[in-house]
Symmetry: D2
Subunit: 132 residues, 4 copies
């Protein structure tokens, strides 16, 4: 299946794309727009949260066998710098742990100038094909 | 100012509305659509995260004097149930603590049948007008 | 089995006791001492974290069948007020969700004057007897 | 002041020591004992939480001017492997962001065989001498 074909509705809606994915690491990008801004005119943290969750999910998928279902059920973020609309964000997700039923990943979100925008951690529940 | 006039670009983009807000509590709603779905066909956790962040921010704003700037810089979520697109989500944010420079709020996100979808906590940085 | 007999080594070491536990809720207390203080002379957040984790674990155990193993693998805390050594802390843990393999609980930690000291959320991995 | 002289009461109580600290990074160690165990006979997550908080606090202190007060008010942990009592834990804290009033740090806790035990993130409130 092509990379484009694997994009979810949410990814297409927000213009999210995977740049690379494999071996427990995924780089995912999202353009930001005026539609994503809060009252201060900066990008709403919720979109950054969504991007981070996406990068970690893609990283986790890269270490699981086909047919596995997985979803994050815990998400923790620290926002460290503002984002102006128009800036392209890049999130790098990495798997820290992959157990029989759960996994843990972390993520850094950076702006175009490579400044740190946010860090995140997520826990995943994993359902291997044999479990179902 | 009217409620409609106070909606940010992000809120209008996603159809988010405040139902009530005041005294440290805010109820905020968001319709969910097919555009918000992940590969499993359920609503991407990032949108739920965004809604929770929004409800807590609105709750926090209700206890701060006019002219105060505030933003979440820490966001923690636990997802407990899936959401099917089309369902309207309701997030109730409550202020737990409001200090001189920081605040803490919590949130419950529920589906139409009032089942618990997610819980969240956020820390806010607060800049009172006198600080600037 | 008596309540005293069920206290773990860690609980006895720190003087932690369950006041009540049942139906997804547990109230757990811990005295604080000078041995628990940081450089500012207040109780180190780590002990508050330990108490919160304990209360949530006990609450979770109250809704699981005998023989179930469970452990927290995600812990999120917000500290909102300092604690002076000598003060007795009370943590109230509540189960928010109990699934087939995971659970979510929340906790409030209060001081002697019932002021809020910290809030916490934890995710648990649950191994029912039939799983092993 | 000697390193030993700077240990807080909590650190001495639990045998915690800083191995290195400087330039936004700190390595802190803690021996584990039977007194730290839960009902499963493994080290209670609360002690791991305390160690991680300590390492991040020490890392943060290394980038702040003398006389600055700082304390964590948000702590997020993911536990990925059990710890048997008797094992020495090593926590490496790193500053990710240091702003005017807040800071963010992350931490990895490892066992003697360098396996990952837990990861953590903390937000700090910073009071520079000029603020008080």
């Amino acid at each position: 299946m092509t990379e484009a074909g694997r994009r979810s509705r949410a990814w297409r809606f927000l213009g999210i794309r995977a740049v690379t994915a494999g071996d427990g690491c995924a780089v995912v990008e999202m353009p930001t727009t005026d539609d994503m801004t809060n009252h201060q005119g900066t990008v709403h943290g919720g979109f950054i949260s969504l991007l981070a969750d996406s990068a970690m999910g893609r990283a986790m998928a890269s270490v699981l066998p086909p047919g596995t279902r997985q979803f994050s059920f815990d998400l923790k973020l620290s926002f460290v710098n503002f984002v102006r609309p128009g800036e392209r964000l890049r999130a790098t997700g990495r798997v820290l742990h992959r157990g029989r039923r759960t996994g843990v990943a972390e993520c850094r979100v950076e702006g175009e100038d490579a400044r740190l925008v946010a860090t995140a951690t997520a826990s995943f529940s994993v359902y291997l094909p044999a479990d179902e």
